[in-house]
Every structure is written in C-alpha cells, then in structure tokens.
C-alpha cells in the first residue's frame, strides 16, 4: 500500500507542479503575446473539462485492453469493438426515439445496447482465438477491418448515409454542493456521467486485478498459464472472462464517446472512432498495464487532443488541424521511446493447450 501511495503522490505532485509552473509562466508572460493567449487557454476550467471528456474512449479502451492482455490474449480488435458499439448505440437510440421513448431513456438503453453488441463481438473474437486458435494479431486486425466495413455499410442501409443523424448526448450531471467548489467543482463535479464512470472504473479495475481472486487468475493466466492449469483453474475460461470484460469496457468506450460527447456516428474514413482504440492500446503500454496509470496516459493524450480546438482559436498560431489530431500518436511514440520498457505478460499471444 505504501508503494501505491508513493506512486499516487508522485503523480499528483507532478500534476500540481505542472499547473503551478503554468501559472508562474502566465504571470511573467508579456501581456497580449501569443504565449499569454496559449497559457490562458490552458489554465481554463473549460480546458480541464474537455480533457476529461476527450479521455473517456481512450481510457475505456485501455482498461479493456488490459483485461484481455493480462490473460495473455493480444487484443488489437479493441478499435473494432469501439466502432461497433458506437454505431449500434446510435442505431438503438434512433429506433427507440422513433418508437416514442423519452430521450434520456433512449440514450441509456442505446448505451447498454452498444455494450451488448461489443460484448457479443468480443465473444466471437474469444471463440476464434481460444477455441479455434486463430493468430491473435491477425484475428484482432480482422475484427477492426470487419467493423470498419460493417459500420458504414449498416449506416448506409439504415440512414442512407455513412453518417448517422444526430441523437443528442447525456449532457452533464451537476453534483449539488460539490460543484460549487471553485476551480475543481466545475471540472470534476459538473461532468458527463461517462467521466464519472471513467474516474470510478480506473481504481476499480486496479483493485479487481490486484486484490481479487479473478484478478489473480487473470494475471497468472497471462504470465504462467501452466501454473494456473496445474492449480486446477481453466486457462480457457479465464481467457474468455478476460476478453468479455474487455468487450464490456470497449462497449462503454464506444457508446460513451458517441452518446456522451459526439452525439452521432460518423462512418467516413476511419469512422468517428478514428484510432481512439489504438490510442487506448498505447495508453496501457504507457501505463505498464496498470489501470490507473493507463487512464493517466489517456488523460495525457487527451490533453493534446483537446488543446487543438483551443489553439485553433488563436489566430496568430495558424495550427495545422490534421497534424494536431495525430499529435497524441506522435507524443506516444516519443514517450514510449524514452519512458523505457513495458513489462508485458510472459505468455502474451501464445495459444495454450489445456491438459485433459
């Protein structure tokens, strides 16, 4: 526990230090200069809220990825699960709204429909990699490519356009009293329900993986499946569980992003998910398979993504938008270069034949 507190202390200390440094820089920046405008954009509660919001799909994708990989299954299909969940949540909401269901009810049902579809797809993926011994990387890739074709296909059939109509979002939940706290209140206690869910899920995942029986089985399954098998626990079943949990988180990520932030599905190009699932993979590599650190990674990437919109409003900067959108990818590669090795589960990617 002491180690955990130390790590948490380091992170919080670093974060507070960064904010203080920015405040100092703001104080000494020449008035009216571009750097002053940038610092103003950064030191704004609106920016902090945006970072939390933007991090949601990446963070859930990362948590999903951790559960699959900890059992020893590489899940490149995360991106695909996010896409499927994003589309099906919108389809459900549109159908329910047409049937006269109230907007909030329709949104929440759509949210769960998205999760359900994602879990279904994860189950198919699990059957292929566990029962039929597919190559895990290729099968995951196939899941992504199938989703990349299927989602716009379904959208075209149902909505006659690769993009869905707008369905609205959950909005924010204001928590009474707490949201009155200056600075922290509007950021942490007047946010989308998906942001709350993310902030609750990260420590929950960490606890489950570290301290529950399921978590111990999952970790053993990825590091030493033979030992787990010898102890009388089924490796296949543990892997099924890991992948299905992965499907749940990816479902929350896809549907949560769509219904919590964007309000529609976009099927053009790489779809509205646009690599957020892959970013999730990088987030857990960055966080070394620790759910809390991985969500921290997701927040870091989100801070770049959210910055783009703010910097665009500063005319003097002339930021190339497309480049900024992929800035998280570039940052990730640089960070992974210098942060050092990730300790991956020992049996990752290997099929395990159970002893009868």
């Amino acid at each position: 526990m002491g180690e955990v507190l130390r790590t948490a202390g380091k992170w919080i200390g670093g974060f507070v230090g960064l904010i203080l440094a920015l405040i100092v820089a703001r104080a000494v920046a020449p008035p009216g200069s571009v750097s002053e405008q940038i610092l103003d954009a950064l030191l704004d509660t609106g920016y902090a809220s945006a970072v939390l919001r933007v991090a949601v799909p990446v963070a859930f994708a990362a948590m999903g990825g951790i559960f699959a990989e900890k059992t020893g299954v590489i899940n490149i299909g995360i991106e695909g699960f996010l896409i499927l969940s994003a589309l099906s949540s919108v389809v459900a909401v549109v159908r329910l709204s047409d049937a006269g269901v109230s907007p909030q009810m329709a949104l929440w049902t759509g949210f769960f429909a998205g999760i359900l579809v994602s879990v279904g797809a994860a189950f198919v993926f699990a059957v292929f990699v566990i029962r039929f011994e597919s190559n895990q990387v290729i099968a995951g890739l196939a899941i992504w490519l199938i989703s990349l074709g299927l989602a716009p296909f379904v959208s075209l059939i149902l909505f006659e356009s690769v993009n869905s109509p707008s369905v609205g979002t959950f909005g924010t939940w204001e928590i009474p009293l707490l949201s009155e706290i200056p600075v922290l209140g509007p950021v942490l206690f007047d946010a989308s329900p998906m942001v709350y869910l993310m902030l609750v899920s990260a420590p929950l995942c960490w606890y489950v993986l570290r301290s529950t029986q399921l978590g111990r089985y999952i970790r053993a399954c990825g590091d030493n499946p033979r030992a787990l098998d010898t102890a009388g626990v089924s490796v296949s079943r543990t892997r099924y569980k890991g992948i299905l949990i992965s499907g749940v988180f990816c479902g929350i990520g896809g549907a949560g992003f769509t219904l919590g932030q964007l309000g529609r599905f976009v099927g053009a190009g790489e779809t509205s998910i646009g690599g957020r699932g892959f970013l999730g993979i990088v987030a857990y590599l960055f966080g070394n398979y620790n759910p809390i650190a991985s969500v921290g990674g997701a927040l870091l990437f989100a801070s770049f993504d959210a910055l783009q919109f703010r910097l665009q409003q500063i005319a003097a900067l002339d930021v190339p938008q497309q480049l900024f959108q992929v800035l998280p990818f570039i940052v990730v590669i640089l960070v992974l270069m210098f942060v050092g090795r990730t300790r991956i589960p020992a049996a990752l990617g290997e099929h395990y034949d159970e002893e009868e």
């Binding site: 990387v137 890739l141 990349l148 074709g149 296909f153 646009g274 959108q325 570039i330």
Partner: protein
Amino acid sequence: MSPLKERFEGLLGTIVRLSTGQRILVSIAAVIFAIGVGVLVILAAGSVASCGSPALYIMGVEFCYNPLEVWLVMFDGSFGGNFEISRTLRWTTLLLFTALSFAIPYKAGLFNIGAQGQFVLGSLGAAVGVIWVATVVPGGAVGRIVLVPTGLLAGAAVGGLYGFLPGYLKVRFEMNEVVTTLLFNFIATAVAFVLVDRYFVDESIQGTQTEAIPEAAELNPQFFANSADFSLPVFVFALGIVAAAYWLLTRTTVGYELRAMGSQQKAAIFGGVDERFTTLFSMTTAGAVAGIGGALYVLMVLGRWQTGPPPLGFDGIAVSILAGNNPLGLFPSGLLFGALQSGGQAIQFQLGIPSELVGVLRGLIILLVATPELFRMMGKRLNRRGVIDIETEGSN
C-alpha cells in the same frame, strides 16, 4: 555458409505445421465461407433496407437484394468485359505491392500493418518528385525515360524510409512493430494532407491535391480499355517484382536469414543471424515496395496526388494472408481482391448496395484464413461422421 543453410531448411520443414496443399485448401475454404457469410449479410441488409420493388421473397419476407444477383453483378463487374477486366487488373497490380509489403516482414516474424501509410507517403513522394524534376527535363520520350524512374525511386525512397522508422524503433527501443506501424498509418495520412494543403496544393482546382504530373510521366493505358487506368507493362513489372521477392526469400542468404528469424528466432540468433539487420532490412524493403505501389497509383491511375486514398494497404494484408504470405500465391489472391474491389464498384453503381460490403468480406477472409484450426476441426467432424474421407495425419 551452406551448412547453416541446410540446418535452416531442415528447421523450416519441421516447423511449418501446414503443408502447401493444406494451406491452399484453407484459403479456398475461407473464401467460400466468407462468400456464404456475405450472403447472410446481403439478406440481412435487404430485409431492413427500404426499396420500391423487392428483389426476392422468402417465406413472406421481402428482401431488397437478391444475393445471387449481387454475386453475378459482382462477377460481371470484375470480369464481364475489357473495361471490367482492366479495372480488376489495375487493382490487382497495386495490391501485389502492398501485399508484398506485408509478406516480406511476415517471413521475418514481423507484422507490418503500416503498408497503408507507406503507400500514401510513397505516392506523395512520387508525385512531388516527378513534378519537381519535370521542371528541368524536356517532355516526350526523353522526359519519360527520366520521369518514370524518378517517380518510382522517389516512391520507393519515401516509402522505404517510412518502413525503416518502425524497424529502427523496434531494434533500438524494443517498440512493438504492430503498434508503431498501426499508428504510423494515421500519422502518414495527416502529414500528407498538411504537406499538400500547405506546400503542394494546386490552387486552380478545388480540394486538397497536387498539380497533375506531366503527360510524359503518365503510364498510359495500353492494349486494354482506355478509361480503366490500367497499363499491361506495369502489370508485368509488378509480377516481376513479386518474382524478385520470391527469389530473394528462397534463393539468397538474406532470404534464408529472414525466414529463419520468422520461423525459429532463438535458433536463428544462435546460428549467427543478426536480428537488427533482418528487422531493418525487411521493414525497409517492405516500405519501399509499398512506396513503389503508391508511385504507380499516381503515375498510372490518378495522375496526381489527392486526399482520400483507397485502403490498398489494408487490402494488401488480406491478399498476403490469403496467399499464405507466399509470393507465389499473391497473384491468384491479388486477382480475387482486385475483382472484389472492381465488383464492389459495380454493385454500388448498379444495385445500390454499399461497396463497403467488400470491406466486410475482406475482414472475414482474413479472420478465417488466420484460423486453420477451424477447418481442421470441421474436417475431423465430417470425417468421423463419414461424410467425407480425409486423411487426418496433419491434424496431430
């Protein structure tokens, strides 16, 4: 060197679990399966789509699309005439390059998911290179002799560099190439867009695209229908590159080393193969090949660079996997995907079925080919029931 070679050959023989014949069977079964699933997708889509006159009734349910008709139109759209055949072969030509870009590193045990990015940047490099050089060379035959190789070299250089990068990140920082190449695709699209938008944009027309390349650099359609943007010599060139890759992989020391790394890494390193070299070499070669594909896309098909490139890099993965990552299998497999691409345009145009269906089929085929165990299990079951008679020797 030769005892080393022999040892590797022996290793390869014992390690590869499936024989060539079994691989081909798996590939054919996967395609048939995918087509079957495609029928279900078409039926499902047809039952929810709204149309004036349903094409099919089954037990009282109206279906807007008749799967049989869809497959016929698809076939007709890919092989039905001169134009269709050239269109199919045009895609096949380009797919051979992106498929090699996956196959070569795969032999060395690496996944290059980045052919799309290498293709995009290679095509931009070719377009810009040709436009620059064209300002100093005359037109006509002389220009052609200079410009076409310039385009190909520029594409290969840019693509190669973009393939080298993930290879370098792997040997220097131990970064997983699956992750880096995936991310590099997104980066490439954005970088290309910004470069063209800021520096190379043709302001006389709308959209983000470069100027047209000079006529002397265009690889004009020959022998086949003009409008299909297909040139037979280019196709022959593509087959030549595939043959060269086959030669490289099977007849040279470098090729043996690559395959040894892919099939038995520890033994290969023990046997003296340099992992850094095989990684950098195979990734760079892969990038260069994809870059040449990109160059040909500019020189033969578009005549300029523009945004929204087709997903040839990802299709290439499917082509290579279906071919068992064997260069010899790339032509039939590339032809199939070329036909799917070509036929996809036909079904969209004639029947109003979104050509994204092809993307679904592509994914299904990849998934099924990666799963030989599925077919082996089915074969065993059928064998036990006495439906078919197969020898189950290979199924341990």
